[in-house]
């Protein structure tokens, strides 16, 4: 099985040869992956080097927490990729981002309106939780297409607050 892992704009071709061998960047590596206590915590020994990290699935990608550092990695098997890249007819659509409440709380302030243009990092909503005022910001520049709450609403965890759409120009590299 062949995969392409993409992180920070770099692409790593990775071929799984068998349970304990992969071809990584043209080199054969001996690997041993073990889940610790059946958790998303993994012990990986690769050519004798021992690593331990957390691996969480994200919307479209995987987040790896390794040695006190976080990596966002998107993985596709080569078939998928080939199909996507050869399929030149279609235009890659503008990205859509759905802002969900990270935890239950009170929306003490909603600082934008539906249809409004926002900058990357701009504060959209202030959510009070754990006695703290938490600022929810725009992950990238775009337009607010759906606004589902108003100031004073109390929201449940994972409740959808609004949708943000990026101009078509955005490249997939900004996935990070």
């Amino acid at each position: 099985m062949k995969y392409i892992a993409e992180v920070d704009g770099l692409e790593f071709p990775i071929e799984i040869l068998d349970e304990h061998h992969v071809c990584f960047g043209g080199e054969i590596l001996e690997v041993d992956l073990a889940a610790v206590s059946g958790q998303p915590l993994y012990s990986m020994i690769v050519n004798g080097e021992s690593y331990e990290g957390y691996v969480y699935p994200d919307e479209r990608s995987w987040q790896v927490l390794l040695l006190g550092r976080s990596y966002t990695i998107s993985i596709e098997d080569e078939r998928e990729k080939r199909l996507r890249t050869t399929d030149t007819g279609a235009v890659s659509p503008g990205r859509e981002y759905t802002l969900k409440a990270p935890m239950p709380g009170l929306a003490v302030a909603v600082l934008i309106e539906e249809g409004q243009k926002v900058e990357k990092g701009q504060i959209l909503v202030i959510l009070e939780s754990m006695k703290m005022q938490n600022e929810l910001r725009a992950p990238f520049a775009g337009n607010i297409v759906r606004l589902k709450i108003k100031a004073g609403d109390s929201v449940q965890q994972k409740q959808i607050l609004l949708n943000l759409i990026a101009p078509v120009a955005q490249t997939s590299l900004e996935n990070r």
Partner: protein
């Protein structure tokens, strides 16, 4: 000695107090909210009583219910911990009225230090510099605050009158942004302390936050246990504390002087039990009295680590009426200690709080490591309370040893199910300003960024990619299809690891 003590708190500090009681042979009573039936403090206590629904104002802030329970179960004292009712003079008075010993200072001392105006007047009389502010004016309305601001000058800080723990604090750079900030400060103060009153205070630039631990008995004996450096803060929330302070390390006379002042300030309000005098030090090593916390501090363990004294046990002894177990000259400091506060906040997502069930926790152990935690694997973190779930304290023969030990311990600490700020601490421990001890209270917000800091650390793009791919593969395997394609060259080379910095 007391027969039975009720702990009017939750989380790690309730557990910390339970431990002290147990070691003193005192029975313990826990109180708990709906969300906390399975909490560690309930499991560890000799007795546990239901208090109310999850929001603090319906449970842990219900002094009346708590006193009621204490009397019903024949407790003879109440330990308030920190936060909640710890600095409420009315609660201390109510305990007294109910013939329950309040393990802390007299209500009058709490009131005196709680009223910033009185507090500052008193210590100012003792010849101590104080940070200029509006506290003398009583509680002002919004327009009054806006009018007073120019007298102090910008930048300034909005602070909650019944504040503490950085709650209800806002920095103000100019008059324009002030109105909104007053609102959000009042909101936060209201929800944290049930009191939305705020006052203004000058913001001292480049300041360090250094505090002294005081211990006093009811016979007028007062000693200090040295200082704690608490300048690593974010939104006025302390994140890392250490003792001794690297800033005072080479300045024994300044430490001496501050210690004496701290003791004077405590005497000024006829203080008994454990307390903390907070100072601001400006870049010219001038120190200003900030306030006194008339309670146990979150960061007390760093002082315990270097002095060997059990501060909570001593609190209980002096509250019972015993003399201090040590004189000032008996206090000896050994080595260096650092505390990292482990919060359920995601440092990669602007420190948003995280909640949910902890599915795995593997605390670091071994030499020189102490964990004070209120959680365990299987426990559900509710959104109702403070995000602090655990404190990691390390001790080393020297500060550098303490730092490398903290690095080691942070890497060992595994918590799955909720996001924590452990990566923030790991990054901080590798940051030059921290290592060299050259930082002020603005460092985290103004100069520190997870991303920039990360730049200085080696990347493991290849390892991370491989790990993610193997995990993805094992999960996709069932739907995987073998797909043959022409061999392809890759110019990319396996990263040479000889240069990897020590983990």
């Amino acid at each position: 000695m007391f027969k039975k003590i009720l702990i009017a708190n939750r989380g790690e500090i309730a557990v910390r107090i339970l431990r002290a009681c147990r070691e003193l042979g005192i029975k313990t009573v826990a109180v708990y909210s709906e969300a906390d039936r399975q909490a560690l403090h309930v499991r560890f206590a000799d007795e546990a009583y239901f208090l109310g629904s999850s929001p603090a104002r319906e449970s842990y802030l219900r002094g009346d219910k708590i006193i009621d329970i204490a009397r019903k179960c024949a407790a003879d004292a109440i330990h308030p911990g920190y936060g909640f009712l710890a600095e409420r003079a009315d609660f201390a008075a109510a305990c007294e009225a109910a013939r329950l010993v309040f393990i802390g200072p007299k209500a009058s001392s709490i009131a005196a230090m709680g009223d910033k105006a009185v507090a500052r007047a008193k210590v100012a009389k003792a010849g101590v510099l104080v940070v200029p502010g509006s506290e003398g004016e009583g509680s002002l309305r919004d327009e009054e605050l806006l009018a007073y601001a120019p007298k102090i000058g910008f930048p300034l800080i909005i602070k909650a009158v019944s504040g503490g723990g950085g709650k209800g604090m806002r920095d103000v750079r100019n008059i324009e942004e002030m109105p909104d900030l007053i609102q959000s400060a009042r909101r936060e103060a209201e929800s944290s302390f049930g009191d939305g009153n705020v006052y203004l205070e000058k913001l001292v630039e480049g300041a360090r936050h250094i505090e002294f631990q005081i211990m006093a008995d009811q016979f007028g004996n007062v000693i200090h246990l040295g200082e704690r450096e608490c300048s690593i803060q974010r939104r006025h929330q302390k994140l890392i504390e250490e003792s001794p302070s690297p800033f005072l390390a080479d300045d024994q006379s300044l430490r001496q002087q501050m210690g004496v002042v701290a003791i004077q300030a405590s005497r000024a309000v006829d203080y008994a039990n454990a307390g903390t005098i907070e100072f601001l030090l400006d870049t010219n090593r001038r120190f200003y009295f900030l306030e006194m916390n008339t309670r146990l501090q979150v960061e007390h363990p760093v002082t315990e680590a270097v002095t060997g004294m059990d501060i909570v046990a001593e609190q209980i002894r002096v509250a019972y009426g015993w003399k201090l177990s040590r004189k000032q000259e008996d206090i000896q400091w050994r080595g260096a200690a650092i505390e990292c506060r482990i919060n359920v906040e995601d440092p990669y997502n602007s420190f948003l709080p995280s909640s949910g069930r902890i599915t795995l926790t593997q605390p670091p152990t071994g030499p020189g490591v102490r964990i004070d935690s209120g959680v365990y694997a299987g426990f559900e973190i509710s959104p109702y309370y403070d995000p602090l779930i655990s404190k990691m304290i390390v001790w080393g023969e020297t500060r550098p040893q303490a730092i490398v030990r903290m690095r080691r311990a942070l890497e060992e600490y595994k918590i799955v199910g909720v996001r924590t700020n452990i990566p923030f601490h790991q990054t901080m421990m590798d940051t030059y300003p921290f290592i060299s001890g050259k930082y002020d209270t603005r460092f985290v917000e103004e100069q520190f960024s997870m991303l920039d800091a990360a730049e200085n650390r080696e990347m493991y793009l290849d390892i991370a990619s491989l790990m993610a791919t193997l995990v993805a593969h094992s999960q996709m395997e069932h739907r995987a299809q073998i797909y043959v394609q022409p061999a392809q060259k890759s110019t990319w080379k396996w990263v040479n690891r000889q240069t990897r910095p020590n983990r």
